[in-house]
Symmetry: D2
Subunit: 139 residues, 4 copies
């Protein structure tokens, strides 16, 4: 739980997130992080995500599974924008139990128009909001 | 579709794999690749995956989304073991449409006893099966 | 496996379909049946399902869980149109293992324009295709 | 929102719950209701759901889709035990938006030992807790 995580949220592991092994399935973490990405984006832009507005599309994602989490466990989720460039940003995610990371993730998100697939430059207010949260401008 | 992919399979994009954007959701690829990991593991070991036998646990995964795939599209899936060490292996995945990659993935899998969480060394027959498919022994 | 099932398909239970209890999750059956509904609709109409064409929307669904199915098991899926009215039809689903039903389902599907939500009367060719498969016209 | 719903919970429709049509997928409601079933069961029994304790297994479920719900919408979820017999109970679910039902569901749940599949009679405290919430004893 090192560093600053502008968005944090409590979560209780759902039945549907667990698989035969009795733990959160590796793919379920990505859906959990997706909720954080959307909530964070809406907080940064002040607008709901919508297919009719430019939004973040995941171009690349990486997840590291540090320790298993089980059904019903109380965990904390966090996300932060690490850095951004002209049309993309790096978004970090984490899930902790008792302050210890179960899973950490990093996505490269490209801001995209859903109808045309065109990349959209981060607008000044969005860049300012990211900077205010501690993100680094790299382009 | 470069190189050799010992396991390949046809797939048609399912309704349940697509999201509001009309494309395969980024997390759905991981579940599609999970099917390949399991099928490939079963082919390599000659035994079904079971919670009562050592099996591959994903310690880390990475996915790159090259182009969107849409509902009903016919795609090809592939997986290959790139390399292995004493208790782990690197597993690559890909989905192609018309020979062009939509998504590629790479997992570090640790062979684990599900009951104790203990790492299990890859046994000689398994190493031999991986070598026979072109994987590189790195430990 | 009583009666006639115009659409039948083999299926192997996926890891992602099973939950902590080690069996197919009750909701996963609905997604499996969804694949049958879509494939069956496409066979009956001769056209792919698309958000831009009228398609079947589930207005009501019922599932009965007769016996559990487990990971890796080989099962058979079936669907049939039981009857139809002016804008709707009753669609039955089943999953069998060794000829014995694990789960049966019944949906009332309304043919709907996705953009307006308007109900669309079943067209003559569609009614004829359903009749040819043994469905009963009730309106 | 007629009648009494002992368990109610706010919910915001998640991206992962919506499909290509832009609405909550019909199967996703069952997973949402599953969360209610588990939470309600835990409240009634005072114990977490666990594969090592008798728990509710869905023997039959029915869902009616009254109106579509879309991504990001704020809804309310409710569940109530309608009635119970020796080893089973009827569990009702609903999702409302602005006080109007989007989806209602009804499950017949059988209390079952997961290891043996044996049915377990509802114990006196559990029956009392259900009665206290307004459920009707039918056996």
């Amino acid at each position: 739980m090192d560093g600053s995580w502008p968005l944090m949220r409590d979560h209780v592991i759902r039945w549907s997130e667990c698989d035969l092994y009795g733990h959160v399935n590796h793919a379920a973490y990505l859906t959990i992080f997706e909720d954080m990405r959307i909530a964070h984006w809406e907080a940064l832009t002040g607008l709901p995500i919508s297919p009719t507005r430019p939004g973040p599309v995941v171009a690349q994602i990486e997840a590291k599974y540090h320790r298993a989490a089980g059904f019903g466990e109380k965990v904390v989720l966090g996300s932060r924008v690490v850095s951004f460039r002209r049309t993309s940003f790096i978004h970090d995610y984490a899930m902790w139990r008792d302050g210890v990371a179960c899973c950490t993730g990093r996505a490269i998100c490209v801001v995209t128009r859903n109808d045309t697939g065109e990349k959209v430059p981060l607008w000044p207010d969005l860049r300012a909001a990211m900077l205010a949260e501690g993100a680094v401008a790299e382009g």
